[in-house]
């Protein structure tokens, strides 16, 4: 049994499952902090009940997110020990800083928030939620700095047969990291906003607690509009940077085979990797790929054929993930803009409310696609240009990994089912009576 392949499957399963919950934690904690601050400032009970209602959903989501995060920290050691040994000097410190600077703060204060309603003043309690929200985003920033280093390694030198740190600040403040942080965080805030809007839309459609859910909807709408515009802009900038530093990923994203000037984008394309061409190409937009990658319609873009076969990422997965992400990323600012224009007449627009209800999962689909694009598009490298994924796995036995992979799928599957069931149940039930 191929240990590398099984370990990749296991890491993908564990990360993608974890990432179903994390962005909602990031986005919803910010909204909860806004809601509770509004309550602490105005004394408006609607905001208190809103905070408690969404807080309950938040805690279920948080619990599943936290427990599935623990395994990730250790999987680098259990399954990717060659990688850990080779780059630990650089990569390990980022993970250790995440735990000591951010995760402690988040985990300690979430407990205080949960049990501290009567022990703290309203203002102090709201402040605690701000700490949780800030710590969550801070946590993400360190993890993304670590990932960015795998995408575009900087600030290191090869010494003593391994990658050693030479410039810490270069790693944290490199352009790739800043763009990835900005893009992922704003995308996560979209998820929080769409979750609150969707759940509110459900109750508004049922004419349940109209006053409370109108307030919640409007608050989330502002966050959703701002963050979807910011995610769109940062996505564009990030794309240009990826084109510059990871040409193979860019070419795979657009299934672009021939090096050309005025390179086109296809609205839809299915690549045929065997024959180095596209099976289906629909909606050819000449020059658009050149424009997206460089902001110049005439720029020359390297095609996959000019990249050695063994250094190409899987084209089909990368391109489909990219298309899903971009399509949804365009939908979010458009729909939130439309909602903003119609915000005064929401209740008369059941269709819009229904769209928002069914849009709840869309941001997480976009987020997961973004990650598939980032990670699959980086292949065959585990650290771009430095170490191949095939050299990175642990010297463990295949059946061991197969066994834990199966355990992951079963345990996580059950957790996900129970977690979502409880969230559905509580979301439908609505806020507790005043």
């Amino acid at each position: 049994m191929d240990v590398v392949f099984l370990s990749r499957l296991q890491f993908a399963a564990a990360t993608m499952f974890h990432f179903l919950f994390v962005p909602l934690t990031l986005g919803l904690s910010v909204l909860l902090a806004f809601m509770e601050t509004r309550y602490a400032r105005t004394g408006d009970e609607d905001y208190l009940r809103m905070t408690k209602f969404f807080g309950k959903l938040f805690l279920i989501n948080f619990a599943v997110g936290v427990v599935t995060g623990i395994t990730l920290e250790f999987q680098f050691g259990t399954n990717w020990s060659r990688y850990s040994e080779y780059v630990g000097d650089v990569f390990g410190s980022l993970l250790a800083i995440e735990a000591s600077v951010a995760f402690f703060l988040e985990s300690t204060f979430i407990g205080i928030w949960m049990f501290g309603w009567k022990k703290l003043s309203a203002k102090a309690h709201a402040f605690v939620m701000w700490l949780v929200a800030i710590a969550g985003s801070l946590s993400a920033i360190w993890i993304l700095a670590a990932n960015s280093w795998m995408q575009h390694p900087v600030g290191y030198a090869i010494r003593n047969g391994r990658a050693e740190l030479t410039d810490f600040l270069a790693i944290v403040f490199q352009k790739f990291a800043l763009l990835e942080m900005f893009h992922t965080l704003t995308a996560s805030y979209i998820f929080g906003a769409f979750f609150v809007m969707g759940v509110s839309a459900y109750h508004l459609l049922k004419k349940n607690e109209v006053q409370l859910f109108t307030k919640a909807f409007n608050m989330a709408l502002v966050v959703g509009l701002v963050s979807s515009v910011l995610a769109f802009i940062s996505g564009d900038l990030h794309g240009i940077h990826v084109a510059e530093v990871q040409p193979a990923k860019l070419a795979a994203m657009e299934s672009h085979w021939e090096t050309a000037e005025r390179a086109p984008v296809f609205l839809f394309a299915i690549p045929d990797e065997e024959n180095e061409t596209n099976l289906i190409e629909i909606g050819r937009l000449p020059g658009v790929l050149s424009f997206l990658a460089t902001h110049d319609f005439n720029a020359k873009i390297t095609g996959l054929k000019d990249i050695p076969k063994e250094e190409r990422p899987p084209v089909l997965i990368t391109s489909l993930a990219f298309k899903a992400m971009v399509g949804l990323g365009t939908f979010f600012p458009l729909i939130t803009l439309l909602l903003w224009i119609k915000r005064k007449k929401l209740l008369e627009n059941p269709l819009l409310l229904k769209i928002m209800l069914f849009s709840i999962p869309l941001p997480v689909v976009a987020l997961e696609s973004g990650w598939v694009l980032a990670e699959v598009g980086r292949q065959p490298w585990i650290v771009y240009g430095l170490m191949k994924t095939s050299d990175a796995a642990s010297p463990v036995a295949g059946p061991q990994v197969l066994f834990t992979l199966i355990a992951f799928v079963i345990v996580y599957g059950l957790l996900g089912a129970v977690g979502y069931y409880l969230m559905f149940k509580n979301a439908k039930k609505g806020p507790e009576a005043a």
């Binding site: 623990i70 050691g77 993970l95 402690f104 309603w117 740190l165 642990s394 409880l422």
Partner: protein, 342 residues
């Protein structure tokens, strides 16, 4: 002291603090089915650790992260060698975490039974397995020059490893029972006092047996004989264990719990000092052993991480201590109906 040596002891300290903090959560979960007679008892017990367990578990994440950052080769070899036991621990921690959150969500006896069982297994299994793992680390493992582990789960379940597991489990049971003495009242507290009292002699005997077996099964005492002043640590561990008994008799539970915390830290340090400078020893050939000196990160990484730890860990300790203070009061029955609990 060299950077590597400082990091070696910081590494030990982080694990010790993890055992001290999450240890009582494990203990509470382990005695949960036995002294939690009614649903109110059970809710009270879960709520007694409810606000704190999550922050406590981060000490594990930090210990793991610091192993990765400061000793990448140890992180890589230790966790791939201990693949199966570590995965078992992680799965156990997963089901413990969610059982705490999920149990109170649905008012059905069947539902609660499932999560009660998960809470128990998710607490007792890591307590036992961490003990087995650390005893084996004290003893050394069959690791070759490429960091490949020549053994399986049964290799770890040798008598000394199992003794370590049972010792940890009993230490944590006592520790958890003492925490319940602080946070509960009435019948439940009486049962917690009873467990604390009865577990004490067991812990004492196990500690002494473990120390004596370590003399025969490991090389831990080499450092002690080279520097006899170090025996103070072992003596202090035993004295603080006597302190548990002393304060328990006086019914000052907070002090007894504090003495138990100290016992756990000192017991961990008994091993850590004995190991120095070996982090992950090979019993195939001493040359294959990973030490603080042959497996550490570059001086730059060690310095940066030291700066981070010096700035942030005291801050963490400060706000966690505040959280402990806020939540060291009794869990009252009326709290259980106010969304202030599970």
């Amino acid at each position: 002291m060299e950077l590597q040596a400082i990091w070696f002891f910081l590494w030990g300290l982080l694990w010790a603090v993890f055992f001290m903090t999450d240890g009582f959560d494990f203990g509470v979960g382990t005695i949960y089915p036995f002294i939690g007679k009614t649903d109110t008892d059970k809710k009270t017990m879960i709520s007694a650790i409810g606000p704190l367990w999550d922050g406590n578990e981060v000490w594990l994440i930090t210990a793991g992260g610091v192993t990765f950052a400061a000793f990448p080769a140890v992180y890589a070899t230790m966790f791939s060698a201990l693949y199966t036991p570590l995965m078992l621990i992680l799965f156990a921690l997963i089901i413990r975490g969610v059982s705490i959150e999920f149990r109170s969500q649905i008012e059905s006896p069947g539902w609660k039974k499932i999560w009660d069982a998960c809470f128990f297994i998710g607490s007792a299994a890591p307590a036992l397995l961490f003990g087995v793992a650390f005893a084996n680390i004290f003893q050394g493992l069959p690791i070759d020059g490429d960091g490949i582990f020549h053994g399986n789960l049964l290799t770890l379940l040798n008598p000394y490893g199992l003794l370590g597991g049972v010792l940890f489990l009993c230490l944590f049971i006592q520790h958890g029972a003492l925490w319940l003495c602080i946070r509960t009242e009435g019948d439940l507290q009486a049962r917690a006092i009873n467990v604390s009292g009865k577990s004490w002699p067991v812990v004492l005997v196990l500690t002494l047996v473990f120390v004596v077996s370590s003399y025969f099964a490991t090389d831990l005492f080499k450092n002690y004989f080279a520097q006899p002043l170090l025996f103070i640590v072992i003596i202090a561990a035993v004295v603080s264990l006597l302190g548990v008994r002393f304060y328990l008799k006086k019914q000052s539970f907070f002090m007894a719990w504090g003495a138990s915390s100290l016992t756990i830290v000192l017991a961990t340090f008994f091993g850590v000092i004995g190991l120095f400078p070996t982090l992950f020893g090979s019993n195939m050939n001493p040359e294959y052993s990973l030490t603080a000196y042959n497996s550490s990160s570059s001086p730059l990484t060690l310095k940066i991480m030291l700066g981070v730890v010096i700035c942030f860990i005291p801050l963490v300790i400060a706000y966690q201590a505040w959280a402990y203070k806020v939540f060291s009061v009794k869990v009252k029955e009326e709290d259980l109906h106010h969304g202030e609990s599970y």
